[in-house]
Chain length 365, copies 4
């Protein structure tokens, strides 16, 4: 199986790029929650294509219809299902794709796994389009978290070899987040953002694509969320973030950087200001032993470059078992990283909600 | 909850560093499998402490007793439970630890989560000692996989800023693996290994510790294992590898490196040699769309430096809510990375077994 | 949470009686399965209301739309989602219901659980209408099972105190099943069926309702399906059958009858006819130790009488906390048992598919 | 898989009748709970064999050793594992059993499922002995529930055709429970109990066995526990009770009896006494729509007669595929129902704890 996540709030994502619809079923939402549909739509718009010069020209409205789970605009305790119709489901010209897998796409592995029955149109269930229902679920979780003082935001940490500034892992604030959300190319350092846009534009001009990194932070988390071993916050977050297509790596706090350090450099000293306990540095990224420390939770996800490029590539005809050349037609995002920013926020929000509900189980028992 | 992993083969790990025993219960093992106990013990010995100059001097036999799940030396279909007794369970001198959390350890977060009821002795359930039952389960899975032509091995990819050579991601072979397993300090490049040992020795001499990276490869996997979205091979492997204490990052194939590249550089071209379909390069690390491609599966896990260091550190007295100095007594591993190598192999083996069983479900239906 | 079932094939049912739509998401279906939509529709029609004189007059087409999971009419390996629109979703006159819970309905318990946010219209997520998506999933599983020689059928075992003949637990055949499926009031003994109809008609005439029992059998099952302890066939089937509204009891084989017997009477002797191993009697209902024996799997589910009756009943005003009288308006099924027959078949089919996939996991490993 | 139960508190039961040990691992227990070991032992003693004239003469101490999950006598948040050693693990004389399956036992179905690798000694993992770890987990849950005002008790409802009085489903009290727990043959009506003992004694004298029914009630439950559809209280309780060997049926409230009634007879009218809302009758057994109503939760489980009887029975030689006669040697319980009483209480306690933790998840969110 495949497309469900969560033990306490469970999302099940369905649909293919060119099926009748895509959507998500969310189980475990508390009853009585008013969902701000307009705010949700604004969140969804952040990942929508065609929004700016840096993504594909195709426009889809991507307005979810709520089939179930609400009464009078508030959650009713029953599973909430939201569906987005696929309006453009032409399936005319996928015969070549069916026979010749695109490099770095799931075409070949899906072919083997499903014995040729997979839905090849537009990448099927493997399409980046399936991040739209992820964002519906995540957008709802973000609203839920916000009411409890928890905020999550992400920014483009790098595109190719151009890097943004990092979050201040000790002091990242809600104000930093506001600025990012208002920015349709969310970076901390405006000048770096300009250089990133040039890198993307260059990739587009040459029919190429480029990868990047998204950095995400959550603030307002109380200490004590997450569990030891396999349900730690790292496991939980990695378990959903790798569900976003093109993610090939994840690191928490100092991450791979901590592997270069000595304990005396990497350990975060505790201190108290009388009211609470904090750490002076935050190399641990807000997680110790899988459990939140109350410091900002910070992680980074690496995205490989978009596989679809204009350059002719080497591939194989599956039917003839012979080597062939493949040219991929159509316009594609030269860089999916900007649109991935809200997807990473959504994934983090779902994972954190799930951990909070887990923690609540034995409250006051 | 916390300490179970897997949907098809499920391992449940229990125990604390100083409880009566630690162990693992494995559900879902096929019946009729002969477990080579001696081979398993050799595997367990690879993570045992005190084996060489690079780890703590303490010696524990760590021989598992099998309480259930076997009859006449073969698996019988019932849950298999193996237990290792904790022979040294003195709990005399943990009062300071209970009050003053060690930086970068789980002491503080466990204190908050469990309201002071956590078992502080030796790190409790958060201790690295709990990787012994992980290795029991993983060692059994490795034997199972080997009979089906699947081999897994890992090496020390870096210690501090000294790096080993990388696996040849396209052509890594069983012979490469044999060499690593015979090496009690498993590196590909012997000279790099010598430098790493110096780095560790220097850390020990200064009462400090150092982090590193483990690189792991699995070969012999057929294409088609793993699932889209949240049960992809990346999700599955990350979900267990982050259960090893001190892991702060994971990347697959080219990982964070792919974020620096263009699509034309990172895409792996397909080709056929008549009999099968392969890729010319392996930046995808054997996984496309969450599903194995038949190429070697390669990933890297980043380990932070051991938190326990001799240097006096800043911390807090939880009872008095005031800032205090903490000196950690006793001998500790200056670097856990060498001992983590078999743990990473074990984790990968369990995740891969689980994916294979998943795939079998609908075979021939 | 609530509305998901299955570990290997997982169904998630969503919707409320008067929400925009109801439906089911099915994960884990094999790819490449052609679903016979017409056969599925015939199956769904068996539970549809208004079909005959013995159920409500309201007519709904209940034709599912497939949003995902298929390409060119066959399953593609991605989650399959089917939706039925609720065409009649007036929500005008539920204010009394919201305040005064109907006896034997879930109104009161849902009110407490969801703090007044539950969807009261038509029973919300607790409505018998939610058995339509159960039947979609079950109908697909029935087709899958049939291709592997497994057939499932059920009949009305009793209505009030009028009983049908029982299945011949040793020799029930496919022919017996054909006869039942062609009968829109499925009984084995036609004369008993006539008396049952009279009992129902009498209940209707007096504004009352009546309960009954459904007996279900599955044939063609190989021995070895199901697992010990908590994943036995009884656990699996009970776990889904109690999801059908109004079920208050379930028994397997001789069930409660076996509690009256001695071992010498209840034990089923084994014998071989040279080719296979069978039992002379089938008091065990095809399940021993939770695992199928290869004999027909037989169980019975008890349905309480429909709670909605015309008679004025005692209840409570939740807002005023005072005792009030309640008259339920509208037409209701005087007996849901006839329409429950395909629901029980559907539930059994899903549980059996799940057990088969479980068993496949370790096939040939 | 097989031997785990629960989503919020999860128990995993391991062991075979003649393996080194049997036990249970419990995940999800709150930290900080003091377990009264003596009270737990008294509870375990209620199911121990050899306690009175009505069970086998064999005596086992069945004292659990706690390997993990506690520190200083209280739960520490880590998985709790308790083990009972099998002191008598002779495996000399099971060769006949291996070849000739005992009627009504799992010998044959386990043989098919595990391909001959199953542990046949004493019934292996299918042995009633595995209810000892169930009772460890259940005994701990009972202590937890008791501290929150929830009490659970069961009695022998019938043996063969001799019936005890029923619980007063509306007014069953803690006092009724005390009386049952002090009775080593727990019945409500002493005279009926005497007759039951005669029925058991007669079965023993003739080398036969006899079945029976256990009725269980839980009081002090608040309304609102349990979930719609597949996580209803009926599903949850049935899902664990069928894990007790020999259970062939379960019913809630009026159960199969409600199938005989009219709605006007079976519906339970609501009323308020000013402070709370109750029902005048309790045919619903404290569960409506899968959710507790606050009325006593009452269910009954049917146990088939012990399969092991002295009489020679017909069976099959698996190796020769020919019909043979089987005589089972050794002493066996002529009736397991008295010893099953605490097992049913244990199962109910675990299911109810799991539902409470589920309900807590979204408390105050």
């Amino acid at each position: 199986m495949s497309s469900s996540y969560g033990k306490n709030i469970r999302i099940t994502i369905f649909g293919q790029s060119h099926s009748e619809g895509i959507g998500v079923c969310i189980e475990g939402l508390p009853a009585g929650i008013e969902i701000d549909i307009e705010e949700l739509q604004r969140f969804l718009d952040r990942r929508a294509p065609g929004k700016n010069a840096y993504s594909t020209k195709r426009r889809e409205p991507d307005m979810p219809e709520f089939l179930s789970g609400m009464a009078n605009g508030i959650t009713c305790g029953a599973p909430l299902t939201a569906v987005i119709r696929n309006t453009d489901i032409r399936s005319s010209d996928y015969s070549e794709l069916f026979d010749v897998p695109r490099p770095a796409h799931a075409d070949f592995t899906a072919h083997v796994k499903y014995g040729g029955a997979q839905d090849v149109r537009g990448g099927g269930h493997f399409s980046g389009r399936l991040t739209a229902p992820l964002c519906i679920a995540g957008g709802i979780c973000l609203q839920l978290l916000k009411r409890h003082g928890i905020e999550i935001a992400a920014h483009i940490s790098s595109i190719g070899n151009v890097s943004d500034a990092h979050f201040d892992m000790v002091n990242v604030t809600e104000e930093d987040f506001f600025a990012l959300r208002e920015n349709d190319f969310p970076v901390i350092d405006f000048a770096s953002g300009q250089k990133m846009k040039e890198v993307i534009e260059e990739a587009r001009a040459t029919g190429d694509s480029v990868g990047g990194v998204v950095e995400c932070a959550a603030i307002g988390l109380s200490a004590g969320l997450g569990d030891p071993m396999f349900d730690g916050m790292e496991n939980r977050i990695a378990g959903i973030v790798f569900g976003i297509p093109a993610v090939k790596g994840i690191e928490f706090g100092n991450g791979f950087g901590s592997a270069l350090l000595k304990g005396s450099e990497n350990n975060d000293a505790f201190y108290t200001d009388g009211s609470g306990i904090h750490t002076k540095t935050n190399n641990h990224g807000g997680i110790l032993g899988g459990i939140t420390s109350g410091m900002p939770l910070v992680f980074r996800a690496a995205f490989k470059p978009t596989p679809s490029i204009a350059t002719t590539q080497d591939s194989v005809s599956l039917s003839k078992m012979e080597n062939v050349k493949l040219s991929i037609k159509g316009r594609h995002d030269p860089c999916i990283v900007p649109r991935a920013v809200p997807c990473v926020e959504a994934a983090a929000a779902i994972a954190i909600c799930d951990a909070i509900f887990e923690n609540n189980k034995i409250r006051g028992v």
